[in-house]
C-alpha cells in the first residue's frame, strides 16, 4: 500500500516532473534535490519540461556517450544548464510563473554560494560554479566578472528555445569538443553508470560529495532487493531430535512460551506427528524486555539481529510516516466499505421504519411510538482476521517492508473494529516457533516492528499448530486467515516417512507441498477460511495453486500486500455471504 517505494521527498520531486511534463507514464531518469534533501522545485520543473519538449532518449544517449569520461559529472551539470535555457524559452509563453521561479532559483543560488565553506569550494568544479554564476547573474541582471573563455562558454550554453533534442545534443557535442577536447564519438561507453540516474549538482553541495545524496535510482532499480533468499540443505544427515539446550536456545532467542506447559504438551502431541514426529513447537509472545540476559555466540547474534532489525523497521516507518498514515486511512476506508457492504446493519427500534407487529400494542397502551425497526448505525461484523507471516530466512531482504505492510493491515482493521492478530512462523533447530506479534485484544500494533527473518519454514506444522490455537480462541466469530507466503516450504529437519524414523525425506519439494496442502485443507475443514498472498518465484506458482487452490492473490511487489489482502477479504466475504 505504500504507493511507491520511495520517500516523500522523492515522490514530491517526481510529481513536479510529471506535472511539468504533463504526463505520468514514465519514471524520470533525473531528480533534483536541494542540499537539505528537499526537492528543488525549479530544476525538477526543468527536468519535467525537458520530458515535455525534448526526446529524452536522444538526450540520454548523449549522456551515455560521455559517461566514461572522468569529467562526466561536470558535463552533466553543464548539459543541464544548457537544457535549462532551452526549455525555459520553450515554456515561458505557456507558463509565465517560470520567470519568477527562475529568479528565485538564481537568488537562492547566490545565497547558497555565499554560505559555502572553503572546503566545499575546493571540492566544487570551478567550471560549473563559474558557469552557474554567469547564468544566474544574467537572470538577475547583475554584472558578472569572468574571463573571455568562460563568457564564450556561457554564451554557447544558452541553448536556444528553437532547438529540438538532436539540436541540443549537437550543441553539447560541439561544446565538449571545443572547450574540453572531448570527442563523444571516440569515447567508450561507460558501463558502470548504466541504470543509475543523475540529479544535478546544486549550489552549496560539494561537487564531489558522495553521490547518494544527489543520485537516485529509479523506483524499480532497487537491484535484487526483492529477490528471495533460498537456503540449501546439507546432505547425508541423520535425523537429530531437538534437545533440551535447543529448546533453551529458542526460548532465549524468541521468548518464553505463552501457553502453560500442559497446553504446550497437548499442542505438540496434537500436531507433532506423522512427518513432524521429530519436531517440536514453541508458541511465544516474544522476548520480554526483563528477559534480557547475557548472551553469547549464535544467541547473541540472533538477539542483536532482532534488535537491529526492529530499529530498521521503526526507522522505515518513521521515514515513510506520512505515506503509511495515508495508506492506513485509505485501506481502512476501503475495508470499512467492504464490510458494510457484506454485513447488514443491525436494526434498531425507532419512531419510524417498518412496524413491528408484536410491539404495536404499545402505541395504544403506553403511547410508546418506538414500535418501528429502522436500520441502525452499528454493523455486525462477526469476523476475526489472522495475519500469518513467513519469517524464514527467505524474507531477509524485505523485512522492513513486510513489517510495515503488516502494520498497515493491522492498524486499518483495528480502526474499523475488526479484531486482528498477527503471527510469524519459522523453524529453527527443528523447533517451529509461532510468535504472536499482536493479539486480538491489543490496541497497539507496535510489536509488529519486532518482525525479523531467520530460520527455515515448516509450513505444514506451523499451520497445524495455528489451527489448534485458533480453534481454542475463536469463539463465535468467523475466522479469516491470510498467509504471506512464498509457497516454498523448506526445513532442514527431515520428514519422517515411517514411525521408526528410518525412512527419511527432505522436508522440501513435493513432500513439503503436499503436507502443507493437507494442513490448509484441515484448516478449512475446521471453518478457518484460509487464503494466501503469494510473493515468490514463478517456479513456485504451481505450489501455491496446489496448496491454496483458488484462494490466493499473487503480488509482484511487496508493497501490494495490503491491497492483496483487501482482495482476499472481499473474495472471502463474497463466499461467506453466498453461504448465509
Amino acid at each position: 500500500m505504500i504507493k511507491r517505494q520511495y520517500s516523500g521527498n522523492e515522490r514530491r520531486a517526481r510529481n513536479y516532473i510529471w506535472n511539468a511534463a504533463g504526463r505520468y507514464d514514465f519514471e524520470p531518469s533525473f531528480l533534483a534535490f536541494s542540499p537539505d534533501g528537499s526537492p528543488d522545485m525549479y530544476y525538477n520543473l526543468v527536468i519535467g519540461l525537458a520530458y515535455k519538449w525534448l526526446d529524452m532518449e536522444v538526450i540520454q544517449e548523449c549522456i551515455k556517450g560521455y559517461s566514461a569520461s572522468r569529467s562526466a559529472e561536470e558535463f552533466d551539470d553543464l548539459f543541464w544548464l544548457g537544457l535549462e535555457n532551452c526549455v525555459y524559452e520553450k515554456e515561458i509563453g505557456e507558463r509565465p510563473v517560470l520567470e519568477k521561479l527562475r529568479r528565485e532559483k538564481a537568488e537562492a543560488w547566490f545565497k547558497s554560494a555565499a554560505d559555502m565553506s572553503r572546503q566545499q569550494m575546493e571540492m566544487q568544479s570551478m567550471t560549473v560554479y563559474e558557469q552557474q554564476m554567469i547564468r544566474w547573474s544574467k537572470v538577475l541582471g547583475r554584472f558578472c566578472h569572468a574571463g573571455g573563455r568562460s563568457l564564450a562558454l556561457a554564451g554557447r550554453l544558452l541553448f536556444s528555445g528553437s532547438l529540438d533534442a538532436e539540436g541540443a545534443v549537437g550543441e553539447m557535442t560541439g561544446i565538449l569538443l571545443d572547450f574540453f577536447r572531448t570527442d563523444i564519438s571516440r569515447l567508450k561507453e561507460g558501463g558502470e553508470r548504466k541504470g543509475i540516474l543523475f540529479a544535478l549538482s546544486l549550489p552549496g553541495l560539494p561537487w564531489k560529495a558522495p553521490r547518494q545524496r544527489l543520485f537516485l535510482r529509479t523506483g524499480d532499480g532497487r537491484g535484487d532487493l526483492d529477490t528471495n533468499v533460498r537456503l540449501g540443505h546439507t546432505m547425508n544427515r541423520r535425523v537429530r531430535l531437538p534437545s533440551g539446550p535447543d529448546m533453551d536456545f529458542v526460548r532465549a532467542a524468541f521468548g518464553e512460551p505463552s501457553l502453560p506447559e500442559r497446553e504446550m504438551t497437548a499442542l505438540e502431541e496434537d500436531c507433532c506427528r506423522d512427518l513432524h514426529a521429530a519436531c517440536r513447537l514453541h508458541v511465544t509472545d516474544g522476548v520480554k524486555k526483563e528477559q534480557g540476559r547475557e548472551a553469547f555466540g549464535e544467541l547473541s547474534g540472533i538477539l542483536k539481529r532482532a534488535a537491529d532489525q526492529e530499529k530498521v523497521n521503526r526507522r522505515f516507518v518513521s521515514d515513510n510516516a506520512l505515506l503509511i498514515h495515508e495508506s492506513i486511512r485509505e485501506l481502512s476506508a476501503r475495508l470499512d466499505l467492504l464490510f458494510a457492504e457484506y454485513f447488514r446493519r443491525m436494526p434498531e427500534r425507532g419512531r419510524s421504519g417498518s412496524l413491528i407487529p408484536e410491539k404495536a400494542y404499545r402505541l395504544k397502551v403506553f403511547r410508546d411510538p418506538s414500535v418501528f425497526y429502522r436500520e441502525g448505525t452499528l454493523t455486525e461484523r462477526n469476523v476475526e482476521v489472522t495475519l500469518l507471516l513467513d519469517a524464514s530466512m527467505s524474507r531477509m531482504n524485505v523485512q522492513e517492508i513486510i513489517a510495515s505492510e503488516a502494520y498497515i493491515m493491522a492498524e486499518s482493521l483495528e480502526k474499523i473494529h475488526i479484531p486482528v492478530r498477527v503471527l510469524t512462523f519459522r523453524t529453527i533447530r527443528g523447533i517451529t516457533v509461532l510468535e504472536r506479534l499482536r493479539n486480538t485484544k491489543e490496541k497497539s500494533s507496535g510489536r509488529i516492528f519486532r518482525f525479523f527473518s531467520g530460520g527455515w519454514n515448516r509450513d505444514g506444522l506451523a499451520f497445524r499448530a495455528l489451527g489448534s490455537l485458533l480453534e481454542a480462541e475463536r469463539g463465535e466469530k468467523e475466522q479469516l486467515l491470510i498467509v504471506l507466503t512464498d509457497a516454498c516450504p523448506n526445513d532442514d529437519m527431515p520428514a519422517l516417512m515411517d514411525p521408526s524414523g528410518r525412512a527419511l525425506k527432505e522436508y522440501e519439494g513435493v513432500t513439503a507441498v503436499s503436507d502443507t496442502e493437507k494442513a490448509v485443507h484441515d484448516l478449512r475443514k475446521a471453518g478457518i477460511r484460509t487464503a494466501a498472498v503469494f510473493f515468490g518465484s514463478v517456479s513456485h506458482l504451481e505450489n501455491v495453486q496446489q496448496i491454496y487452490g483458488k484462494e490466493y492473490v499473487r503480488i509482484r511487489k511487496l508493497n501490494r500486500i495490503a491491497d492483496a489482502a483487501q482482495d482476499l477479504i472481499r473474495m472471502t466475504l463474497q463466499e461467506m455471504t453466498l453461504q448465509i
Binding site: 514530491r12 506535472n19 526537492p39 506520512l322 495515508e326 476506508a333 466499505l337 457492504e341 419510524s352 417498518s354
Partner: protein, 307 residues
Amino acid sequence: MAELTELLEKEGVDKELLAGAAEFRKAYLADPDFADRIPEVSALYYGKTVWEEAVAVLLSGRNLLLAGPKATGKNLLCENLAALFGRPVWNVSFHIGTDAAGLIGTDTFDGEKVSFRKGPVYMSAEKGGFCILDEINMARNESLAVLHAALDHRRIIDVPGYDLIRVDRAARFIATMNYGYAGTRDLNEALSSRFAIITMPQITEENMLRLLQRNFPDISERIAGQFVKLFGELARKAEKSEISDRAVDMRGMLDALDLIRQGLSSGQALELTIVSKTFDRYEQTLIRDCIGSRIPADLDRSLVFTG
C-alpha cells in the same frame, strides 16, 4: 427559462431539441405547490454534445445516468436539466446505508395513527418531478432493487401494505455516479441497464475559460488561462492517484478567484479553497507544489482583475 434556452442556443445546442423541451414544459405544468423546488440557473453547464444527448434521452421518456469523475459538472447538469424542463427536484444522496425506506417512505406514528411518510422517490413519481439519485453507486445494490420497477417500462412503485403508484409521465430519474476513487463501486447490471448512460467528459480548457469569464467578466485572460491549466494539472494528478480528487474542485477555483477579489493574495485564496480541501498533510504539500508551479503566490486583485 427563456434566458436558459437562449444561452443554450448560443452554445449551439440543437434548436429542435430545445423546442422539444419547451413543448414538454407546456404539456406538463408543474404543481404550483412545488414551484420552489424548480431550480434556478446559478451557473451553466458547458458542453454542447452532452446537452444534446441528455435532452434527447429525457424527451424520449428514459432515465439518465451521468457517470464520470469529480468536477465534471454532473450535479450542475442535473439542476440545469430540471430548470430547462421546468420540473421540481427531489434530491437523494446515496450512501452505504441507503435503504428502500429512505427512498420510498417509512411508517411513522403521527400521534393518532400509524401512517406512511412519503420518501423522495415516491414524491417525484407522484408529482412528476425529477428525482436526482446522487452517487447512486454508493448504495448496496440490493437496497436499490425497489427502484427497478419504477425505472423500467413498468413505471410503477409498489409500496407494500399501501398503494401501487404509477410514475407520473413527466417524472424522470437522473442518477449520478462517481468513479475512480477509494470507496466507489460499480453499479450492477440490473440497474445500469435501466438508464441511458452519459460518460461525462472532463471540462475542456476552452469551456472552463468561458466559465471563469462568465463568472468574472473582468478577469485577466492570461491569469484565467493559468487557473484553467492548474485545474487540468490537478485533475490529471488525481486521475493518476497521486492525490485524491478532493482538490479537483471547480467550486473551489471559483471561490479562490472570489477571495482574491475580496483582497486575499492568490496564495492565501488557493490555500483556503483548494489545498485545505484535503486534510492529509502530505497530499497538501503535493497540491501546493502543483499550484506553485503555475500560479505565483503573491498575485493580488489588481493583477488578476484588470477590468
